[in-house]
């Protein structure tokens, strides 16, 4: 197999003197939807923060053939490693249109208008609401806006942290369908989720994290039948 898009090997990271991630390894290949699941406090968000270079880390962190470790947050971002943070983190007193524009804020190429059309075709509701203040929208709409803003950066890998958090199941289903569309447009996705059932419905491969370590990994169809995973995350009903 050719080199993975994202390669993480033996990664340790944390906040100051508090280590959170231990010897973590993970890959994302082109065209994949990979999900990282685990309970609250497992270190999923910390991993994304390390990938976006917001916190220091040791180990191997390669993206698109390049070492990420020496880069500042802007560096990781401009190389196409773009994340939708947990809790959306929109600019609340700016319009949808302005939020989307902030995603392309560092882009100087001519393709921005084209990307905007693509985002509007993925999220028609955002086109309707483009003059509305982001802070006044529903949770689902805010998540769409946050995902659209990330896509405006023309990512090579889209990382989404807790996409389903606080959203009604029917909205989550819509967003999962849109993830497949995004992948179909050639953008791989790393989806961090607590809702394992939702994540498994769309992902190709999965990593299960517990207290800063990867404890299970593999194809979703295999993990969905792994008794340990089923017991801990999918419940008896599955």
């Amino acid at each position: 197999m050719s080199e993975a898009l994202l390669t993480i090997e033996h990664l340790n990271a944390g906040y100051g003197a508090v280590p959170v991630l231990f010897d973590l390894s993970l890959t994302v290949n082109p065209g994949e939807i990979v999900t990282l699941v685990g309970s609250n406090g497992a270190g999923k968000t910390t991993l994304l923060r390390a990938l976006s270079r917001l916190i220091p880390a040791q180990g191997t962190l390669r993206f698109n053939g390049e070492d990420l470790l020496p880069l500042a947050p802007e560096g990781a971002f401009t190389r196409g490693l773009v994340q939708v943070p947990e809790g959306r983190h929109l600019f609340p007193r700016m319009t949808v249109e302005e939020n989307l524009a902030m995603g392309a804020h560092l882009r100087r190429d001519k393709g921005v208008a084209q990307t905007l059309e693509r985002v509007y075709s993925l999220f028609p509701k955002m086109k309707e609401r483009r003059k509305q203040l982001a802070g006044n929208m529903s949770g689902g709409e805010q998540q769409m806006c946050a995902m659209g803003r990330a896509l405006m950066a023309d990512p090579k890998l889209l990382m989404i942290d807790e996409m389903s958090l606080g959203l009604a199941p029917v909205i989550v289903d819509d967003l999962l369908a849109i993830l497949s569309d995004i992948r179909a447009q050639g953008i791989p996705v790393l989806l961090v989720e607590q809702d394992v059932f939702a994540a498994f419905s769309v992902a190709d491969r999965a990593y299960v994290m517990e207290t800063g370590r990867v404890v299970r990994e593999g194809l979703v169809k295999d993990l969905a039948n792994d008794p340990a995973v089923v017991d801990a995350y999918l419940g008896a009903a599955h």
């Binding site: 971002f77 773009v82 943070p85 983190h89 600019f91 007193r93 700016m94």
Partner: protein
Amino acid sequence: MVLAQILLNGILLGGLYGLMALGMALVWGVLNIVNLSHGALIMLGGYTVYYLFTLAGIDPFVALPIAMVVMFAAGFALQWGLLNLVVRSKMLNTLLITFGLDVVLTFAAQLVFTADFRTINPSYAGANFPVLGLTVPVVRLAAFCVAVALAAGVWFLLNRMPLGRAIRATAQNLTAARLYGVNPRKLYAITFGIGAALAGAAGGLYGMISNLTPYMGASLTAKSFVIAIIGGLANPFNVILGGIFVGIAESLTALYIGPTYTDVISFGLLVVVLVVRPKRAVRAA
């Protein structure tokens, strides 16, 4: 008629007050720094225009943009080298450091410029013309127009330009702005530079209307603070309106109660606003 003239004077002076507060409101809203050296920056802008006029013979209104460039550079350097060290820390830290900065700038100015009163006094300083029986002083009218024009410029920057969008975004959500490629250190330095440039313009205009002294800063900081709170931090035109409000209130006070009571009224207004609308007072850009 006297009342109409007083109102006109208050409005014209208030426009300049608004410009003084504009830079402070911008820095406050975006960086969450209440810059206690803002008045000292106004003072430095005033002296810059003064010396460009007296030593280089440049017309004060032509010297204004030059002083703004100089003050932008000074403000940028100050934020980059000093204030970035404490930005986003507890407000007490930024209050302390900008207070210290105010003391240093004031006494450095006393050393360099001496404590003498200075006035920027171009040939047209005393010119005025009558409109509907009112006397309109040319310099004050020009100062008012410059203040409104600069407020419009700030509005345009914040709402219509990518740089301004990034400034607002950073004020609203620092985490997201960093994630989307904004370098906050640089953006803060630019914002503080703009605030200092606005202070510089206000200082130059103030020097044509009143006196420049090294000690003028403290009271202007206080006045800017009051106006920034009355006008809010979000919209530049509201800051100008806040300035006009205070300008009118001061003029009426001077007329009916006595000129020594003008500060009582402007700070009385501050107390009233803080009691009546405390939320508005702390709302960010």
